[in-house]
């Protein structure tokens, strides 16, 4: 998968779960500070990402993913290693 496809799919998840406008889901945006995504929704987003990309995001990693770009990079990295 290309990074831009992962980003677009991840933006879809953000919209579906947390109502984030895909136009706002820029890589540098912080989930909590910019996009208003709370911790419960982050858990839901991680599960939806697992379904979409087949990439399981452990809790220890999830808390480190502060921005949209962090999450997309993480998913891309795991997919590349697979």
């Amino acid at each position: 998968m290309f990074t831009k496809d992962i980003h677009a799919d991840f933006a879809d998840i953000l919209y579906e779960v947390a109502g984030v406008d895909p136009a706002d889901a820029a890589p540098e945006k912080s989930f909590t500070e910019d996009l208003g995504v709370d911790s419960l929704s982050m858990v839901e987003i991680a599960l939806a990402a697992e379904e979409r990309f087949g990439v399981k995001i452990p809790d220890g990693e999830l808390t480190g993913l502060r921005t949209v770009g962090n999450a997309v990079d993480y998913i891309e990295k795991v997919l590349a290693a697979a």
Binding site: V17, A18, G19, L40, S41, V43, E44, L47
Partner: protein, 433 residues
Amino acid sequence: MTAKSAAVFRAGRRDDAGRLTRARRDDIVVTGLGASTPLGGDVASTWAGLLDGRSGASAIGAGWARDLPARIAARVAVEPDTALERVAARRLDRCQQLAVVAGRQAWTDARLPRVGEGGIEAERLAVVIGSGIGGVLTLLGQHDVLIERGSRWVSPHMVPMLLPNGPAAAVALDLGARAAVHTPVSACASGAEALALGLDLLRSGRADVVLAGGVDAAIHPVTLAGFAQMRALSTRNDEPAAASRPFDKSRDGFVMGEGAGVLALEWASAAAVRGATPYAVFAGAGVTADGHHITAPDPNGTGAARAITLALRDGDLSPQDVRHVNAHATSTPAGDVAEAKAIRSAIGDHPVLTAPKSALGHLLGGAGAVEAIATVLTVRDDVVPPTRNLDDPDDAVGLDVVRMSPRRMAVPAAVNNAFGFGGHNVALAFHKL
């Protein structure tokens, strides 16, 4: 606003001839109504449905109902998520969605300004929403997820969605209320108990405005099976609109419904200051317990009668003032007759009754609040909605129950009853402004 003492509250409700006087500045009044019910998505359509004697019940056609003895339900007329933002709706259980919809309506209807503006302080706004069962549909749905996919896939939103206090918390969060937020849980009396508690919050000075009501949304094979095992549900499956028939000789149980009702309560003086037009005075409440059996009503209606008497005393009303009772009457063989006995002993033979569950079905925790709304509108408009399906009144009732068409009559004061499994009895008294 400071706390009102009971002495001030009770002072001078009558003229020298003992007649009821107009609302005093220190009455508690109902200034806003909101509802989503099987008869309509708001109060106007619900009230029109009650006056028309429409039924909100229908057969459950889904395959899962095939093996149930009772396959009738009264679902809300308007799906609540259609009135909510998509993302907000998916984090709310169905009962929370209904409560938020009704809460917004009550707030708008009362013409209350945004919290923080126009003298409405968040810290002085309380919310009391009762529920009999809470987010049971979420719990059951997530149990299916657990079994089918495993614990990792259970929703992180499940717990706040299933909590019984979820509807009250959701309404408070939606409107910005930061005073007390309560959830009375007393089965089918929950909505009425919320109103009784709302009265107390205003009288004790713990809030200036209270949104109070009740909700349940629990139509599911398991709940239907459980109530059916108690032999509490009507099995008149071929005639769903005729199944709920309170006070009729051939009644055989209630029809499970879903829905929410919310009322805005405030001091008459505060309502007058902001130019609001109240619907009626919320005069008093009585709350008792049967102490008889966990589910069966006391056959003599003693606890219910005490609740009515307490409500009248609390509201400084005499039995003669009460011309109308909006009955709890669920259409069960034992309950309806016990309630009639209670009404006769606490008020007399003169009140004219209606049984709104004949049209609405039984909204469980929502019933007391939605039916209080109907009572308030009867007091304001001097019209009593008909009781559906009352073809052959039970001789043991011994009271005048309106049927066929609405009855226009003077209603200076009225009582609304709500009872719940557990032996809970709540009576609410309203009178004209």
